[in-house]
């Protein structure tokens, strides 16, 4: 297991280095630069040169990359051109908690709701319950987030006044924050429940059709026992593969949810860093995102071993 783990970690490191090289090159190839963001009249050559000298952009690109790589090894990703009072690392540290809280709750809710619905649908296959759950899953997954958000804000905030229409609330009062997060979490989570429910139903239905389940029933086990001890456990592997990546995806923020509900977070920086040609931010966020994804898949692999003894056995045999 240790060798396997080290191999995977080495692979992740290599992937990150290659990705950084690719992103660095790509960010320098696109037209324009950070010196002209929003300017109606292009800056003069001298102004651009002064900007480049100030930020070391006048050096050969390969040298810039090596300098960046050396600094990145110590988690120093530089300072964003657009928010120069803090480092990229500080920016991620400051904004991630907001996105992580919102996305974490939304992902957990989506998985909890989706898995529950999927299990119910699979347990009552071909019944009216199955039809309702499957229909819900299809419809909810096809409703765009902006429609969901607009309907929620209009009916539940503007008309009924049950919830605030957005903003973070008082950060010193968790009840205020929780109250303000109800609509954003719902708008973020509900569309995701559809996919989770459908995939869960499919995984469980496949497991229920297998020989070992028939054998379990033949031995006289109760339905609940078969479902929890045999079906769910075997269905978990494909489910984990699909559902765990929801966390990095949702916890790193959503530009749309943050903008519509006026929430602080990391989401908007995925877009504005690129449109502003904010090189340090583009690279920093890309690497952070890639690291999260890589670690999630690494964790998924480790969990396979925990859940399925066959994975451990095959690793030992190798």
């Amino acid at each position: 297991m240790l060798v396997y783990t080290l191999k995977r970690l080495g692979g992740i490191l290599m992937t990150l280095v290659l990705l950084s090289l690719f992103t660095f090159t790509l960010s320098r190839v696109v037209p324009g630069g950070p010196w002209a963001q929003g300017a109606e009249i292009p800056l003069s050559e001298q102004q651009i040169q002064a900007f480049k000298e100030k930020y070391g952009l006048d050096l050969p690109v390969w040298r810039q990359y090596l300098i960046w790589l050396g600094n990145a090894a110590t988690l120093d990703f530089g300072r964003p051109f657009t928010e120069p009072e803090r480092t990229v690392t500080a920016l991620i540290r400051d904004t991630l908690p907001f996105s992580a809280l919102l996305g974490g709750i939304a992902a957990t809710l989506a998985i909890a709701m989706g898995v529950t619905l999927g299990v119910i649908a699979a347990a009552y296959q071909e019944s009216w319950i199955d039809s309702i759950v499957t229909s819900y899953a299809v419809v909810i997954a096809t409703v765009p987030s902006f429609v969901m958000a607009f309907l929620m804000k209009y009916f539940l905030a503007a008309r009924l006044r049950w919830f605030p229409s957005g903003a973070w609330g008082n950060p010193d009062d968790w009840r205020s924050v929780a109250w303000h997060l109800v609509l954003p979490v719902a708008a973020f989570a509900l569309p995701a429940t559809g996919g989770v429910a459908r995939w869960t139903r499919q995984c469980i239905a496949e497991a229920m059709a297998s020989d070992y389940v028939r054998t379990a029933y033949a031995k006289g086990l109760r339905s609940t026992g078969v479902l929890t001890r045999h079906v769910l456990r075997n269905a978990l592997i494909p489910m984990i593969t699909s559902f765990l990546p929801l966390y990095p995806g949702m916890m790193t923020g959503s530009l749309f949810i943050e903008a519509v509900f006026g929430l602080p977070g990391l989401g908007k920086y995925f877009v504005v860093s690129s449109t502003n040609r904010d090189y340090p931010l583009v690279l920093g966020i890309t690497m952070f995102w890639a690291l999260l994804i890589a670690l999630t898949y690494f964790l998924t692999d480790v969990l396979y071993g925990v859940i399925d003894p066959r994975v451990r056995i095959s690793e030992r045999q190798r």
């Binding site: 324009g32 630069g33 102004q47 928010e83 904004t95 607009f150 229409s165 957005g166 903003a167």
Partner: protein
């Protein structure tokens, strides 16, 4: 803002049912008739909104004459007494969004396009514009030009102090402009009328050679390259910073409440990009912009009309980019209609051609004239902008000083497909044969701008037989291709006013501006007119220059969009009253430049109780 009875479950389910049925029906309709129907409805909305504004204006004037607002309300930290119907001071705040653009710099003279704060509460501008678009002194109390027009003297206010108690003197103003222009200021071009501004910006001259000097502590002299009659207008964006502040207070001092030094009516007391910024009244302020409100809160705020209706935001704009459902809601709700304030257009979208010779057909004025005459501008604008734009016949927006409605009759503005075909054939491209396929760059476009370009693309194909490809681009790519490297053959872009004088639009069309077009004879004509201190002569000359601009066909002016601004009806105050043209504007003065929310307060009125 106000409490209302919640809907019953039955009503709620009823509304959900209606919404679902509406969504279902909407999804079943064919798109084309729907667009036409919406356009007609929205045009009606705008007309009605304008009617409401006119009615309100008459009513308000009568009120002011008969019953002046009694000033017996709470007294704020500046010693200003609010009117009797004002809410308590803790409810007197402006809630606005955190700067949408990166927001890297705290002082506007460090960066305009990447500034953190939209308002001018923290620092004094040299001048500003009132709601009638008249220029008035903020940091100065008067100004006069030299007899030969070579410089202007600004007499600074003597009682202004920094929040640390130091007096604000001419040396602070001199330091500010020298520092900005010699430190890569992205808005430096705005000051290129000032003597040596261009070489100082490019580093060819030291900052000391910039045409600005302190004659004495309270007289600021600004020298110009040529006589500049509108120079006081440039002061609306010129905000002061303390002498040597960049060196003494350190980098990013204007983002740090502990180091912030204010000259304006507000002080930065909290700065958090995540949780928001807070501005509180500056007790040392002695200037003339004296707000009634006590605080400015800049926060992440929710967007959309629903948030406005819920009372979670204080300002919402409806325009061509708004979803039709929002416009319908505003039109259907009497409170929202009463809270709607049409804004004057301050922006012109136009098509431009690279005439420098790299794209041979476009260097031929007759080809460009053919392209212009093949566009049915009036129809395109009315169909696409849902009534939220005027067709543009020149660069100056409708209602702007020196606006010339006669430009509509100029040849390039007259839609005539047959004449266009003939012109193109005479130029060697009959039915568009042999005409290259060019890309039309569009800068960070809205849906409407893309739709306009698609319509132009279709009309050129249909009327002239030529094919172009659209290239919507982000800001950087567009600027690089169209104005920097000039590799774009044609482009679609907009330009907004910075102050209220024709020069704000027309200066950019000089050959030294941004466009890939050179015409020194036009420059000479325009510069001569622009530098005249005789207003009539100047405007007459500039009108002629605008006419030549249209006739040059290097540009084709398309649309002048405008918005309808909504703010709660319990916001009152003199700066929210209709101006001489009937427009009401939010912020403390004319739209298009920063203010400090002076002349606005929140009343205890329950006028919003019927909302919803």
């Amino acid at each position: 803002m106000s409490k209302r009875t919640p809907l019953s479950r039955r009503e709620f389910l009823h509304l959900i049912g209606l919404a679902s049925a509406g969504a279902f029906l909407a999804s079943c309709t064919t798109p084309e008739p729907q667009v036409i129907r919406e356009t007609i409805e929205v045009e009606k909305v705008v007309e009605k909104m304008v009617e409401v504004e006119v009615e309100k204006m008459v009513e308000t004037e009568r009120l002011v004459e008969v019953t002046p607002i009694p000033l017996t309300g709470p007294v704020n930290e500046l010693g200003e007494t609010l009117p009797a119907d004002a809410l308590a001071l803790d409810q007197q705040f402006i809630l606005t969004g955190i700067g949408a653009v990166g927001g890297g710099y705290g002082h506007i003279m460090e960066s305009l396009y990447n500034r953190a704060f939209e308002h001018a509460g923290g620092q004094e501008t040299l001048t500003s514009l009132d709601t009638n678009f008249e220029v008035y002194g903020v940091g100065c109390e008067s100004w006069e030009p030299a007899e030969d027009g070579s410089y202007w003297d600004f007499n600074l206010r003597r009682d202004l102090v920094w929040s640390n108690g130091d007096p604000i003197t001419a040396r602070d103003w001199v330091y500010t402009l020298r520092w900005s222009l010699s430190n890569g200021y992205d808005f430096a071009w705005f000051y290129f009328d000032i003597k040596n501004a261009q070489p100082v910006t490019s580093g060819e001259m030291p900052p000391e050679d910039l045409g600005i000097e302190a004659v004495d502590d309270f007289t600021l002299r600004i020298y110009t390259e040529a006589p500049v009659p509108y120079l006081p207008m440039l002061g609306v964006w010129f905000q002061v910073m303390p002498e040597n502040s960049q060196e003494a207070l350190g980098e990013n001092w204007a983002l740090d409440p502990d180091r912030y030094v204010a000259s304006g009516p507000f002080m930065l007391t909290k700065f958090s990009r995540s949780l928001g910024n807070l501005w509180e009244l500056n007790p040392t302020y002695n200037g003339i912009r004296r707000p009634w409100i006590a605080k400015i809160r800049e926060e992440n705020i929710p967007g959309g009309l629903a948030a406005y209706m819920a009372g979670d935001v204080q300002r919402h704009d409806v325009g061509a980019v708004s979803p039709p459902a929002e416009i319908g809601l505003v039109n259907a709700n009497p409170v929202l209609r009463a809270e709607s304030h049409p804004q004057p257009p301050t922006y012109t979208d136009y098509l431009g051609f690279n005439t420098l010779g790299d794209f041979a057909p476009l260097a031929d004025p007759n080809v460009r004239l053919a392209l212009c005459k093949a566009i049915d501008k009036a129809t395109i604008v009315s169909q696409i902008y849902q009534g939220f734009a005027h067709p543009a016949w020149g660069i100056l927006p409708k209602g702007f000083p020196n606006y010339n409605p006669d430009l509509e009759q100029l040849d390039p503005n007259v839609y005539d497909p047959e004449a266009a075909q003939q012109l193109l054939a005479d130029a060697g491209y009959p039915d568009g044969q042999g005409f290259p396929v060019y890309e039309l760059y569009i800068r960070q476009p809205t849906t409407q701008q893309v739709a306009v370009c698609e319509a132009i693309q279709a009309q050129w194909k249909e009327n002239l037989g030529i094919t172009i490809e659209l290239r919507p681009s982000d800001f950087q790519s567009f600027t690089s291709a169209s104005f920097g490297d000039r590799t774009a053959a044609m482009y679609y872009v907009g330009y907004a006013q910075d102050y209220v004088d024709p020069a704000t639009f027309m200066n950019v069309f000089r050959s030294t501006g941004r466009h890939p077009h050179q015409d020194e004879s036009w420059d000479e004509l325009y510069n001569t007119a622009n530098s005249s201190f005789n207003p009539e002569e100047r405007f007459r000359g500039m009108m002629e220059a605008e006419k030549l601009l249209v006739e040059s066909t290097a540009w084709y002016f398309v649309a002048q969009p405008f918005n309808v601004a909504l703010w709660p009806c319990n916001a009152q105050g003199p700066t929210l009253e209709p101006n001489k043209d009937g427009y009401q504007m939010w912020g403390g003065g004319a739209i298009g430049c920063p203010h400090a929310y002076q002349g606005i307060y929140w009343t205890d009125s329950n006028c919003r109780s019927a909302l919803g």
